[in-house]
């Protein structure tokens, strides 16, 4: 079915929330542009021609490229090793390798600062600036590349490579010309997510003192209170993000990888590692050690020096985090449902547009998005500014896209015929959805909600900009303590973030299990 005019009245219950969601993402961005354009010509010239902008651009791009390169060096061989070789314990390794997802970048940066240098847990010189940011971001974001690459390796059809070999290509050239293009969508998709994280990151770079666009935005907003320049920096950052999205779309265009022949694909033969196996373990254990074991060890070590009287603050922050992330993730699922439904059942231009808008909310760097909402709410919805509902709604807008994927996936598996049967029995589209489809969707919804929850608990800049007065979450506490170099005080808050996130990674794995 495509969306046609006669459908509209029946679909109104879906269209309305979907359109509101689209507006919630698009409107504040529009307002950001208007705000930036408010600048007087002279000030505008000063802002646009600042040499600092070029420096920030250079820094941001250098970090982006460095992280993409290093995550490739980690994720590519690891995905290969855990799918296409005879390595023992592949599954356990793959799970461990995905777990650094539970640690946010600012916690990684904090561990690096607390653990190195004189008096640190490790006998290493203080690592910060570009090197520190590169290491932290790479080791904590490589799972976003590792997971899709693994899926791609598992789904790969070996016959193409074999055909290339029979045509006289060597193993390496056959891999490059036949196999690699098949991995391209996964690679680009992973790059996009890693790239969005790097562009949007604020906690890591500000703790490690590396000036990128997002760091500069926060600085202009909070330390030097210049909102016009902050708005312009946010627009520059949006342009960069837009460039990244466009690049990915262009590279993926006209790529046709589906099997055209009859019959099903075969599983590839496993590569025997033989004497290389110990090296493979070493490579696989390196990220586990650096991105999981070391941070947890350092955090526990530091937490043992935690002053007891701060326990109440810990409970309060935990409660605040749960009270923000819980409703926000439920809201994100509620927003994702109608959009996913329209996109799957009524594929059409408006439905695609709404879906793109939802992804835009995710692709906009959180600081820019938060800033846009600060401006927009102060002007248009002043009663909402500084209130918990606003924080919830904005978190939901941002993490909506993370819920969309699992819900769409689940929806694709619900047979359309069940719904059609309900329709012929006189149900409206809404009624059919609520009574037939929704009960079959809950696993997808739980997975989507878990993803949004993990995101919201780890989230820093949106919370910093939009939380109500005195509302400190685990994330904001970690950040404010670490900024003051109070490492022991920050440790339990960071540990709770890691534990909460890991628990929801558990929900995620559970919801993916099929009976």
């Amino acid at each position: 079915m495509t969306l046609r005019l006669p459908h509209l009245p029946g679909l109104l219950p879906f269209l309305l929330p979907a359109v509101l969601t689209g507006g919630g993402v698009a409107l504040p961005l529009l307002y950001l542009v208007l705000r930036a354009l408010e600048a007087e010509p002279q000030a505008l010239k000063e802002i646009l021609l600042r040499p600092k902008n070029l420096e920030l651009l250079g820094n941001t791009l250098a970090l982006l490229l460095g992280v993409l390169l290093l995550t490739t060096c980690l994720a590519f061989p690891l995905a290969f090793l855990t799918t296409r070789t005879d390595l023992k314990g592949k599954r356990l390794l793959a799970t461990l390798l995905a777990l650094p997802l539970a640690l946010p970048g600012y916690v990684g940066a904090y561990v690096l600062l607390a653990a190195t240098g004189p008096g640190g847990v490790l006998p290493l010189p203080r690592l910060e600036g570009y090197g520190g940011a590169l290491l932290v971001l790479s080791f904590l974001t490589y799972p976003y590349l590792f997971l899709p690459l693994r899926a791609a390796f598992l789904g790969l059809d070996p016959s193409l490579e074999e055909a290339a070999r029979t045509l006289g290509l060597g193993p390496l050239r056959a891999f490059l010309r036949a196999t690699l293009p098949q991995l391209l969508p996964a690679l680009l998709g992973g790059y996009l997510v890693v790239g969005l994280h790097v562009l949007g990151d604020f906690g890591t770079v500000s703790l490690l003192r590396y000036e990128t666009f997002s760091y500069a935005i926060y600085l202009q907003y909070s330390a030097a209170f210049d909102r016009v320049y902050a708005a312009w920096l946010a627009l520059f950052l949006l342009l960069l993000t837009g460039g990244l999205l466009l690049l990915e779309a262009l590279l993926l265009r006209r790529l046709s990888l589906a099997r055209t022949g009859k019959g099903s694909g075969r599983r590839a033969r496993l590569v025997r590692l033989g004497r290389l196996a110990p090296w493979a373990y070493l490579l696989a254990l390196l990220p586990v050690l650096l991105a999981l074991v070391l941070p947890l060890y350092a955090l526990f070590h530091l937490a043992s020096r935690f002053p007891r009287e701060n326990l109440q603050g810990l409970l309060e922050a935990l409660l605040h985090s749960a009270l923000a992330a819980g409703p926000a993730s439920a809201l994100a699922v509620g927003m994702a449902l109608p959009i996913a439904y329209l996109a799957v059942r009524y594929p059409s231009f408006p439905a695609r547009l709404l879906e793109r808008l939802a992804y835009l909310g995710y692709a906009v760097p959180p600081l820019a998005f938060g800033l846009a909402w600060v401006f927009f709410s102060l002007k248009g919805l002043p009663f909402l500014y500084g209130s918990l509902p606003l924080l919830l709604v904005v978190l939901a807008f941002h993490f909506l896209a993370e819920s969309l994927g699992p819900i769409r996936g689940a929806l694709h598996q619900v047979p359309k015929r069940l719904e059609e049967a309900a329709r012929t029995l006189g149900e409206t589209p809404t009624g059919a959805f609520l009574r037939v489809t929704l009960p079959l969707l809950w696993r997808g919804a739980a997975a989507g909600g878990a993803l949004a929850f993990i995101g919201a608990v780890k989230e820093l800049p949106l919370t910093l900009l939009l939380a109500p007065m005195g509302y400190s979450t685990l994330a904001t506490r970690v950040f404010s303590y670490t900024q003051e170099a109070m490492f022991a005080e920050a440790a339990p808050f960071a540990l709770l973030i890691a534990l909460l996130s890991a628990a929801f990674v558990g929900v995620l794995l559970w919801s993916e299990r099929r009976f």
Binding site: R50, P51, K52, E55, G117, P118, G119, G120, R126, E128, S206, L207, R209, L219, Q220, Y221, S222, A223, A224, F225, D226, R227, Y229, G313, L378, P382, Y385, G386, M469, G470, S472, S480, Y481, Q483, E484, A485, M486, E489
Partner: protein
């Protein structure tokens, strides 16, 4: 049975009403949470007045107050800098204060009489004592770049350009020596490739860790580190030098505030010997009222005051300093 239920219901309702009746004070704090929180809780215990705090930087709070306008829920603005209070006063956000409050502090009562100074801190130079002897350190902040150049400290000087006290100090250079001199100083500093830290403790931690060798900071941060057992040098420049600038923190009552009595009580509380002792003991700041035991490791208050240049603190050209920092690409 039913009667008991009714009684419980009435009791709960009374309790709820009582809680609702309890006055609540809304405080906008430019000072850090780790410092304000214990004091606010103590105030709650001592007076039964509930305190709600919104934390931010001075600049953020000033902006929030202006954006919120008459809708602002804030009763008290407790700022990290006199500059921010001066701006709030100049924009008509603050209420004039009564004589009973203004007579409490020993010095630094502003001409506008719309806020009270609460504590005092000095700018000082923190350094690695293994690297320098106290007598070889420069006599003026303005000589710091030349000293660092001669000693080959390129990349080994720390600074905190986003921190309000640093920005106040730059404003102090402009006020005392003119904008041209301030520009020259900042450019010379920039040529040393200084490392910029988001906060003073982070910079001092870097000096401790041997990442940089020295940096200008507020005196109590050095005190705090020394109390934690780290060896850090504390250097005062010559008398009257801008590098020793005395900076007060202070608080004022907002015109929009709805809880005047509770707010006045809070300001009085800040100037009570009990609270002032907390500032001295827990933070290492200088008290501004009599009857407080000061830290023997610190200069006596009179000597400290003599070190600082004389300035009208409410008129520090902060806007000019920020513009300059931005123009030079430091911010």
């Amino acid at each position: 049975m039913r009667r008991r239920k009714v009684l419980i219901l009435i009791g709960t309702a009374a309790l709820g009403l009582g809680l609702a009746q309890q006055p609540t004070l809304t405080l906008y704090s430019g000072r850090g949470q780790s410092l304000v929180e214990p004091l606010a809780r103590q105030f709650e215990r001592d007076t039964g007045i509930r305190v709600q705090v919104r934390y931010g930087t001075d600049a953020q709070i000033l902006a929030a107050l202006q954006e919120e306008g008459s809708r602002s829920p804030a009763d008290v603005f407790w700022a990290n800098t006199a500059g921010a209070l001066g701006q709030a006063s100049a924009r008509g956000l603050l209420r004039p204060l009564g004589e009973s409050l203004l007579k409490l502090p020993q010095a630094f009562v502003p001409a506008s009489r719309s806020w009270v100074p609460v504590t005092l801190r000095l700018r000082v130079l923190a350094y690695n004592p293994q690297k320098f002897k106290p007598e070889e350190l420069p006599q003026s902040l303005l000589d710091l770049p030349r000293f660092a150049r001669e000693r080959g400290l390129v990349g080994r000087v720390g600074w905190t350009p986003t921190y309000s006290s640093f920005q106040d100090m730059v404003a102090g250079i402009i006020a005392l020596h003119g904008e041209a001199k301030a520009r020259e100083w900042l450019q010379e500093m920039k040529a040393l490739a200084p490392k910029a830290y988001a906060s003073n403790p982070a910079m001092l931690d870097a000096i401790r860790a041997g990442e940089v060798d020295l940096g200008s900071t507020n005196h109590y941060y050095v005190v705090r580190f020394r109390r934690a057992g780290y060896a850090l040098g504390l250097h005062h420049f010559k008398e009257g030098d801008v590098g020793n600038l005395a900076l007060v923190t202070g608080a004022g009552l907002l015109r929009t505030g709805k809880n005047l009595a509770a707010a006045t009580r809070f300001l009085t509380y800040l100037l009570s010997p009990k609270a002032q002792q907390y500032f001295v003991g827990n933070i290492g700041e200088y008290p501004l009222v009599k009857g407080v035991v000061t830290d023997p490791n610190l200069l006596p208050l009179e000597e400290a005051l003599a070190k600082s240049p004389r300035l009208d603190f409410e008129k520090l050209p902060l806007d000019q300093a920020l513009r300059l920092l931005r123009e030079l690409g430091i911010l």
